[in-house]
């Protein structure tokens, strides 16, 4: 199976007649969980990721007393793949959460100052990434879901030392839309949006998050390496894909 896939990819073909730099079908649905302040369900092909957003009152970080907090975590649920096992976060899920976190933070996607309540009290925004079905490319699916969910997040009200979470109409202030593109290198071939099968034979992975103007986060993964020309190529494609992905988010958050 692996040899067959490698051969297929090195001859320029991909399953489902997909071009090397094409995404699978992407579906985004927002507001899928009523108990969360914001949520989104994103599928890229058979990969499916759910993100829920909760806001709680917290203390600010000592070096940023006038800003809220952003806490991102990822769960690779055992129900999502026979290869995922229950237990505490492993390096893979920590990496996934931290890359999504870096992209949101670097792009200043959320207006962190708008989360200030009063001295020593700010909102903490919890972004919880739940992988429901694994078929590759969790990075892009997770960031799409996080971004969409944040744009549809309603801010609770803090009044008389109590948090009110019902009948809200003020949205969380989102300033910037950031998306990511993830590539796999199989042999010497680069492909966008790898499936689970393709990820099982990739030698390296490269994720670029951009906001249309700036590169906002990069993460190279696995033992394989990249030439500079390959990186230039991936950066170029990443910027080309920005509008396409942004449009999908905008349509889902209208």
């Amino acid at each position: 199976m692996n040899d067959y896939l490698k051969e297929l990819i090195s001859s320029g073909l991909r399953s489902h007649d997909r071009g090397n730099f094409d995404y699978r079908e992407i579906k985004i649905k927002s507001d899928v969980i009523k108990t969360a302040e914001g949520s989104a369900d994103v599928s890229i092909g058979d990969t499916r990721v759910l993100v829920g957003i909760k806001l709680d009152v917290d203390e600010p970080m000592p070096d940023k007393p006038d800003e809220g907090n952003l806490i991102t975590s990822a769960e690779l649920l055992p129900l999502a793949s026979p290869d995922f096992e229950p237990g505490p976060p492993n390096p893979e899920s920590i990496e996934l959460a931290r890359v999504v976190d870096r992209a949101l933070r670097s792009a200043e996607a959320i207006d962190m100052k708008s989360l200030f309540i009063e001295e020593n009290k700010v909102w903490s925004v919890f972004v919880d990434i739940y992988v429901l079905n694994y078929d590759g490319n969790l990075f892009d699916a997770s960031l799409l879901a996080a971004m969409t969910a944040l744009m549809k997040t309603k801010k609770p009200i803090y009044k008389d030392n109590k948090v009110i979470r019902e009948n809200l109409n003020e949205y969380l202030k989102v300033n910037n839309i950031v998306v990511s593109t993830t590539f796999a290198k199989i042999g010497d071939i680069l492909i966008l949006d790898p499936t689970g099968e393709e990820e099982s034979i990739m030698n390296a992975r490269y994720t670029i998050a951009n906001d249309g103007n700036n590169i906002r986060a990069i993460q190279k993964g696995l033992y394989g390496s990249f030439k500079e020309e390959e990186i230039d190529n991936m950066v170029e494609i990443s910027f080309k894909k920005y509008n396409e992905l942004k449009l999908l988010i905008e349509n889902a958050t209208k």
């Binding site: 976060p89 920590i94 990496e95 792009a107 700036n214 990069i218 190279k220 993964g221 390496s225 910027f239």
Partner: protein, 246 residues
């Protein structure tokens, strides 16, 4: 907290030019029990790297019949930063750094030579001043070379970043805290293949190219320091006993 002005009259707060590295010193074989080790001072960073193995992979089922597995632990002492006492045990940042560091060495070590075995790489940050993951990788590469474990190349790592419109190399802690971008990269100098790349902040495509260029230039300096450190014990021996072997 007020953001300090990081570049004044074209110079950085520690007096460096934008493309200037901090001083780097490397000493090898400082942990006697290890198969290979290195102590490094990179600016105000103090780092120890030690390598154990190749040895039997344990527990046995973790062994790979086709190659050695690499284990890597990056850790910071609780007294390594100017902030409060650090917590014990690996935090999420350390787990991520251990993972990407491991992946650098999976590429560079001839793992296929050692089936069913493991090679352990330990990186301990004694004193931190920004760029510790780059320092750790650079030091671990030297520790591996002195251990005699065969490698395709001796990789180096360094970080580039941006302050306003200026791209700078080798950010210290203060610059790291207030910079507009930070991008640690590890490279195999022989063919310039990129083994690690992480980035946060913001870089235009042009700034990204400039940063990569600066990293490769700095790499020439770092590579030379690494090689001299690896050779030094042998040169010392030659200086001491050389005449006898002539």
């Amino acid at each position: 907290m007020e953001k300090p002005q990081l570049i004044v009259n074209g110079l950085r707060l520690d007096g460096r030019k934008p493309d200037e590295l901090r001083p780097i010193k490397i000493e090898t074989d400082i942990i006697k029990n290890a198969s290979g080790s290195a102590y490094m001072e990179w600016g105000n960073n103090k780092v120890i790297a030690a390598v154990y193995g190749p040895k039997e992979a344990l527990p046995k089922h973790t062994g790979d019949p086709e190659k050695a597995i690499i284990k890597c632990v990056y850790s910071m002492t609780p007294f390594s930063s100017l902030e409060e006492h650090g917590r014990s045990g690996p935090n999420r940042r350390a787990i991520e750094i251990s993972k990407v560091t491991k992946e650098v060495f999976e590429n560079i070590i001839l793992v296929e030579n050692f089936p069913r075995s493991e090679i352990d790489i330990f990186i301990e940050i004694l004193q931190a001043d920004g760029g510790t993951r780059a320092a750790g990788i650079t030091a671990a590469a030297v520790a591996l070379a002195t251990s005699g474990i065969p490698m395709r190349d001796i990789p180096y790592a360094v970080s580039a970043g941006r302050v306003g419109d200026t791209v700078i190399i080798d950010l210290n802690k203060l610059e790291d805290n207030y910079s507009d971008a930070d991008m640690p990269v590890a490279i195999a100098p022989r063919n310039n293949e990129i083994l690690l790349m992480q980035m946060d902040g913001g870089l235009t495509r042009e700034q990204f190219k400039k940063a990569l260029e600066m990293i490769k230039n700095a790499g020439k300096v770092i590579t030379k320091i690494q090689r001299e450190a690896i050779k030094k014990p042998y040169e010392d021996l030659i200086n001491k006993y050389g005449a006898k072997y002539e």
